[in-house]
């Protein structure tokens, strides 16, 4: 079952989105992080830490500005055994769809295909 990773500029967006997805997909592992030093922002370290704890192939969702750049760098540096995919679907709707699909056993390829149909 694919993991979900959420990176946002805001801890509240990250936590809120995680809670929303968890409500529909209880068995899916969701990694979420947002904000830097109690303020707004993202950094590579917080994403790398989440990637170090993934247990399966993972679909990643991001919000605005530099979150994509930091996510891309962290994914490129990831040396673990799982496949990590970045989706450009909207963070809330995308992770929600991916969570539900993962919980009913859809493959990562199928989920990515469905996500591609909901571009930002």
């Amino acid at each position: 079952m694919a993991d979900i990773l959420i990176i946002s500029h805001s801890s509240q967006i990250a936590e809120g989105t995680k809670a929303l997805v968890e409500q529909m997909a209880k068995d899916v592992t969701i990694h979420a992080s947002g904000g830097v030093d109690g303020g707004i922002g993202t950094n590579i370290d917080q994403i790398s830490e989440m990637l170090d704890s993934i247990e399966d192939d993972t679909l990643c969702f991001y919000d605005i500005g530099s979150s994509l750049m930091n996510l891309e760098m962290a994914v490129e540096m990831y040396e673990g055994p799982h496949a990590v995919h970045i989706s450009n679907a909207p963070i809330v709707e995308g992770s929600f769809l991916a969570g539900v699909e993962s919980s009913v056993g859809s493959t990562v390829e199928d989920i990515l295909k469905k996500l591609n149909e909901m571009k930002k």
Binding site: N43, I44, D45, M69, M77
Partner: protein, 194 residues
């Protein structure tokens, strides 16, 4: 330039960015959020503090990881990740050819991850031309690098915070272009002085 010399050059950037903090802050106040001076100072103080030695590859990688963790905004991750990528290409003894190869990687990394191209008034305008300067002149003289930064004065920013200033961004050197001058100069100096 062996690993020791490389480490000396990178540690030396602490002093450079301590000295240039107010200059970079002034440029970034004109067309950004004013934090580039303090960010670069914090980043290279951390490099001086934390990067202790090893092979050229290890020194570059540690420098990159340290910059990524300690500088906010887009410039820290871009510089940091570029150092990590350059570490793959570094030989134990970095000569001019090897440095040119590293600068090409620097340039490609910033273009890929920063989604930037030439003429957009960014650090890329200095980085992307530095390998050619090295090949054509045999070195990386401060005046040649500074000219690349001066060339960003007349450009209109379309990337980053400066993009919000549009036409008003004209007349100011891009702060990232200016900090790139100091970093690349330090690397070139290491190669030319053994």
């Amino acid at each position: 330039m062996n690993a020791d010399k490389l480490l000396t050059q990178l540690h030396g950037l602490k002093t450079v960015f301590d000295d240039k903090e107010s200059e970079l802050t002034a440029l970034d106040r004109e067309i950004g959020d004013g934090d580039h001076g303090v960010n670069m100072k914090r980043g290279f103080n951390a490099v001086d503090d934390k990067v202790a030695g090893g092979s050229t590859k290890e020194v570059l990688k540690q420098t990159g990881m340290t910059l990524m963790s300690s500088i906010g905004g887009a410039s820290g991750p871009l510089y940091g990740f570029s150092f990590v990528k350059m570490s793959d290409a570094a030989n134990d003894e970095i000569d001019a050819d090897n440095l040119a190869e590293m600068l090409e990687i620097f340039s490609k990394t910033v273009a890929d991850k920063g989604k930037v191209e030439g003429g957009e008034k960014t650090m890329y305008d200095v980085i992307s031309k530095s390998a050619d300067v090295l090949r054509e002149t045999g070195g990386l003289k401060m005046e040649d690098l500074q000219q690349l930064a001066e060339d960003t004065k007349d450009m209109i920013a379309t990337k980053g915070r400066a993009a919000y200033f549009k036409e008003k961004s004209k007349g100011t050197i891009d702060p990232g272009a200016q900090s790139a001058v100091y970093i690349i100069h330090a690397l070139g100096e290491g190669v030319n002085n053994g």
